[in-house]
């Protein structure tokens, strides 16, 4: 190949590729709105707060950003709004060893942020983040009634037992040693805030008494 031929191939080939990219971009832009819920004013306000505090400097969202803190794409799917708002305003008041600093987020800003995070959790991401395919093997051991209720209400979104589960609340591997009174657990589940000062745990008052008792029975066995 002559130098000139190589040059022409480079110039015209690249232009062609770029044109294809522009066409695909236009097509994509036309399809995005069907793949995500409507953007309300609150969602937009939340996005602006996201930029204001440079959340992306620690977190990823849609998997892009910094790798210092958990991904924010599906946060609101497993954690209730009440908990998240308290956390955003002052992380260490509810989780003393949190690596997230208090940034000065106001209540309104936190509210908008949640709205934004709910929006992002509903974007069609082609199935990302994937379900942990090996997790089933680790959790499906024969379960007691209390254990099943623990799974049903996704307590492990915030609590760890034997290394599995989230880290938003205290580890429960030895919850029974720490608090052996089943009554206390029922009271705590029904209304955490009146049992533990400043608790950010959501209440489970909507559970039936049987469920609450079974859960408490299970918790006190964790020694």
């Amino acid at each position: 190949m002559s130098t000139n031929a190589a040059k022409n191939l480079f110039i015209y080939g690249s232009l062609l590729c770029f044109i294809v990219l522009v066409v695909l971009t236009i097509d994509t832009m036309g399809k995005l709105d069907q793949r995500a819920p409507e953007i309300t004013e609150k969602v937009d306000a939340g996005k602006k707060v996201w930029h204001k505090y440079d959340c992306i400097g620690c977190h990823t969202i849609l998997g892009n950003g910094s790798y210092f803190a958990p991904d924010m794409t599906k946060t609101t799917e497993r954690k209730p709004k009440t908990y998240l708002i308290k956390f955003l305003i002052d992380p260490r008041s509810i989780k003393p060893d949190s690596a997230m600093p208090k940034l000065g987020i106001t209540e309104k800003e936190a509210d908008d942020l949640i709205e934004f995070l709910v929006w992002i959790s509903k974007v069609d991401t082609n199935g990302w983040p994937p379900k942990p395919i090996l997790a089933v093997a680790a959790t499906s051991r024969a379960a007691s009634p209390g254990q099943m209720i623990f799974q049903k209400y996704d307590c492990s979104a915030c609590h760890q037992i034997q290394g599995l589960g989230g880290a938003a609340g205290p580890e429960l591997t030895h919850a029974g040693s720490k608090q052996p009174d089943a009554e206390w657990h029922v009271r705590h589940l029904k209304d955490p805030a009146s049992t533990v000062k400043n608790s950010a745990m959501p209440d489970f008052a909507h559970l039936s008494n049987e469920e609450l008792n079974a859960l408490a029975e299970y918790l006190v066995t964790l020694k």
């Binding site: 130098t3 690249s14 770029f18 990219l21 995005l32 400097g57 620690c58 849609l62 991401t125 990302w128």
Partner: protein, 462 residues
């Protein structure tokens, strides 16, 4: 000094190496914050912003210095306007300084990051392009002045060499690709879509064009290789870079809310991206083998060939392993990405700019002979440390992908418990890298200034 204009190139180089040192020092703070989050008065996000912005800015400054040098050499004339270049240099330094102060203020008091005319005053809150809008505009003006000055220089003598064409073409592409990052979108999906135009089309598009052009320039300078042959291979390389890289952009559109066809487009084209990088390695070796002249500046050639190799390893290999959707689904947004980011930037661009400095500095300062041993020392301190940082972080990434993505363990648990030792080792190797970078800076200020006797004395001892 053949041309007065080369003084300007030196200004840019000086600012670049100093920022390099800052970047690495700040990287170590970031690494320590993985172990102790409250290690420093500024939070991790501010430190990280400083780390990656310093990186991008010093590489750009290095490219500008290199370009001012190349353009005067190839056009065989002084710059069109030296005062304009001087002004552009100081204006850039001032603007960068203001942005840095802004980041620090925002880090100390996030409320200072006010909204002004619909944009943020101090920090835009978008990775890599954190610089606020007013700074974006200044950056664009600076780059335009720089391009204008370079272009007018070429027009002065009308020696349209292939190297100048691709170099200035790449820089123009670079300037244009900054624009998609300069407007606000309400949708986070669109935000990231356009953000990747900037980030990806820079490092896997325009910057690779600049790298290919500078590679050809350096091989010619060092070895006296035939310009025609170099030019032909340069066009083949840049052609392949863009045929694979432009649509390879799709590897960032798998999971951000964009349609499914990007899985095919991105997967196929980005898998081919290592090919041009391999051709560059071959190009460097072939040219070295075929030209039998005595190489004066051995350390310059060393860096040039190392750049080609690590460009391929860091960008090509460490990129391709996680680029197909079936793999990326599990590794996306994990430490695997960090490992790749470090080796790619180091191999492709840090070594590129350092090679340009080693090739041109002795020429600019008129040092026929200089103590080359420091250059090798710096190289090995940096390269061994970087390779170990990357191995460490690849390990952390594999543990993270397995425990978090496959087993469903919590992010915080994996980071704080399972990966702790990886963070500790990264910080230690970071210090090794800092030593290498410090030797570079020392060497930069020494080359061509040491007395001849001291040089030969050192050479005998070496």
């Amino acid at each position: 000094m053949r041309y007065q204009s080369h003084k300007i190139a030196l200004n840019f180089y000086t600012a670049a190496v100093l920022l390099f040192l800052v970047q690495v020092a700040v990287g170590i703070i970031a690494a320590l914050q993985f172990i102790w989050p409250d290690f420093f008065i500024l939070n991790f996000n501010t430190i990280r912003t400083l780390h990656i912005n310093a990186l991008v800015v010093w590489l750009l400054l290095g490219m500008m210095g290199a370009t001012y040098y190349v353009v005067t050499e190839e056009s065989e004339t002084e710059l069109w306007s030296i005062p304009l270049a001087q002004f552009q240099f100081w204006a850039t330094v001032l603007a960068v300084g203001a942005v840095v102060v802004g980041y620090i203020v925002m880090g100390l008091n996030p409320q200072a990051n006010m909204e002004v005319f619909g944009t943020r005053l101090l920090n835009e809150g978008r990775e890599y392009i954190e610089a606020p809008r007013w700074a974006d505009i200044l950056i664009v003006v600076s780059v335009l002045l720089f391009l204008f000055n370079s272009l007018m220089t070429v027009l002065k003598t009308k020696k349209f060499t292939a190297v100048q064409g691709v170099l200035l073409g790449g820089l123009t592409f670079l300037a244009l690709m900054y624009i998609p990052g300069m407007f606000y979108t309400k949708s986070m999906v669109k935000d990231q879509f356009w953000w990747w135009w900037v980030v990806h089309l820079w490092v896997e598009g325009s910057w690779e064009l600049i790298a290919a052009a500078l590679l050809a320039f350096m091989l010619h300078k060092l070895l006296g290789a035939d310009v025609k042959v170099l030019a032909k291979w340069m066009y083949i390389e840049t052609g392949l870079v863009l045929f694979t890289g432009i649509l390879g952009l799709g590897h960032h559109y798998y999971w951000i809310g964009t349609p499914e066809y990007w899985l095919w487009v991105g997967g196929i084209f980005s898998s081919l991206e290592p090919i041009p990088l391999l051709v560059m390695v071959w190009d460097a070796f072939r040219t070295t083998r075929e030209t039998r002249g005595v190489v004066q500046n051995k350390v310059g050639l060393y860096y040039t060939v190392a750049h080609a190799i690590f460009n391929f390893v860091g960008a090509g290999l460490w990129g391709v392993v996680h680029t197909i959707p079936q793999v990326n689904k599990w590794t996306h947004g994990t430490q695997i990405t960090t490992a790749h980011g470090h080796l790619a930037f180091y191999g492709a661009y840090v070594l590129l700019i350092l090679s340009m400095m080693y090739v041109t500095l002795p020429l600019i300062r008129g040092a026929k002979d200089f103590n080359q041993s420091r250059g090798y020392q710096a190289f090995w301190w940096m390269t061994i440390s970087m390779v170990f940082i990357v191995i460490t972080i690849t390990g952390a990434g594999m543990v993270q992908a397995y425990l978090e993505r496959l087993l469903g363990l919590d992010y915080v648990t994996v980071k704080a418990d399972y990966n702790l030792w990886f963070w500790i080792f990264r910080a230690i190797f970071g210090v090794g890298f800092l030593i290498g970078a410090a030797i570079i800076v020392k060497d930069y200020f020494t080359i061509g200034k040491e007395k001849a006797a001291a040089v030969s004395g050192a050479a005998e001892r070496a």
